[in-house]
């Protein structure tokens, strides 16, 4: 019976989810020169999971993006960010000075800055996406949701 309800919503989320993920990656990969970047892209990616979870229920969402993966993703982002920053001190620059990357790889300083920014942005992307998904799960899985609209409670019944 839930299949029959919210048919438009289900179909449109089904179509939109991959598009949102694709757009997130577009914003991410064009972020260092154009408007965009890791933060915006991370929120977009998370919003795809959120939309999917709201319509298809917690079980489906956790199949798509397991909660453990969200935590690992967030931690991985921080480690990637710090590791990128830590390259430079080995060469003699200060923390996050991406000229060090250029020196280490023997390339143009601007290219070094470019690589550094791209890596840092991926770190931000992972962390933001991971934490936004984790925040969503933290509220979604809570048993205190008795009074939510019937639209949601249908889904949680289905999940249990």
């Amino acid at each position: 019976m839930t299949e029959a309800r919210h048919l438009v919503l289900r179909i449109s989320v089904k179509i939109l989810t991959p598009l949102i993920v694709l757009f997130a990656l577009y914003v991410q990969t064009h972020g260092e020169y154009g408007p965009g970047g890791g933060f915006q892209a991370g929120v977009l990616l998370a919003s795809a999971v959120v939309a999917y979870g709201l319509v298809f229920g917690p079980a489906a969402a956790t199949r798509l993006a397991p909660p453990v993966a969200a935590g690992v993703l967030a931690a991985l982002g921080i480690v990637l960010y710090a590791a990128t920053g830590a390259i430079s001190p080995f060469i003699g620059g200060s923390f996050l000075d991406h000229d060090g990357i250029a020196e280490a790889l023997q390339i143009q300083p601007t290219t070094g800055q470019h690589i550094g920014i791209v890596l840092v942005e991926w770190g931000v992307f992972f962390t933001v996406a991971g934490s936004m998904i984790a925040i969503f799960y933290a509220f979604m899985a809570s048993p205190a949701d008795e009074q939510t609209e019937d639209f949601d409670s249908d889904e949680s019944e289905e999940a249990h």
Binding site: F39, I135, A138, F139, S142, P143, A144
Partner: protein, 130 residues
């Protein structure tokens, strides 16, 4: 009373900001529901974001983007907007933690009304004292 209307109009953003801040502060302290108090806090913080962003606006200025023909247009100060991007992240984090705590309060006390929680707290304090 001698109010310079033109001067007042030029500072309309600050008046709006102060109005929003006061509304937010009032809701934060006077609301009877914990979620509404968090909403008040959000309004207060948003007023500050408006304060920063309007501060950086230059009349007639555009976005600080380099044009193809190497022309430098008049552009608004981007730094306050960048700072506010960070402040928004901070306020989202605070709001998420706040809502998570409200969820736990609701589970533990069975209510998220300020009065109910306060009454339960007073009863618990009395128990702890004896």
């Amino acid at each position: 009373m001698n109010v310079d209307l033109a001067d007042l109009a030029a500072r309309i953003n600050n008046i709006a900001v102060v109005g929003l801040m006061m509304a937010g502060l009032f809701i934060t302290f006077a609301s009877g529901h914990l979620v509404k108090r968090l909403i008040g806090l959000s309004i207060f913080q948003t007023a500050i974001f408006v304060f920063f962003i309007t501060m950086g606006k230059v009349t007639g200025g555009t976005a600080p983007i380099l044009l193809p023909d190497e022309r430098t247009p008049i552009y608004s100060n981007p730094l306050p907007s960048v700072l506010i991007l960070t402040a928004i992240v901070v306020s989202v984090a605070t709001l998420a933690v706040g809502l998570a705590i409200v969820v736990r309060i609701k589970e533990a006390y069975g209510s998220a009304e300020t009065d109910d929680v306060a009454a339960a707290d007073i009863a618990l304090d009395a128990d702890a004292q004896t």
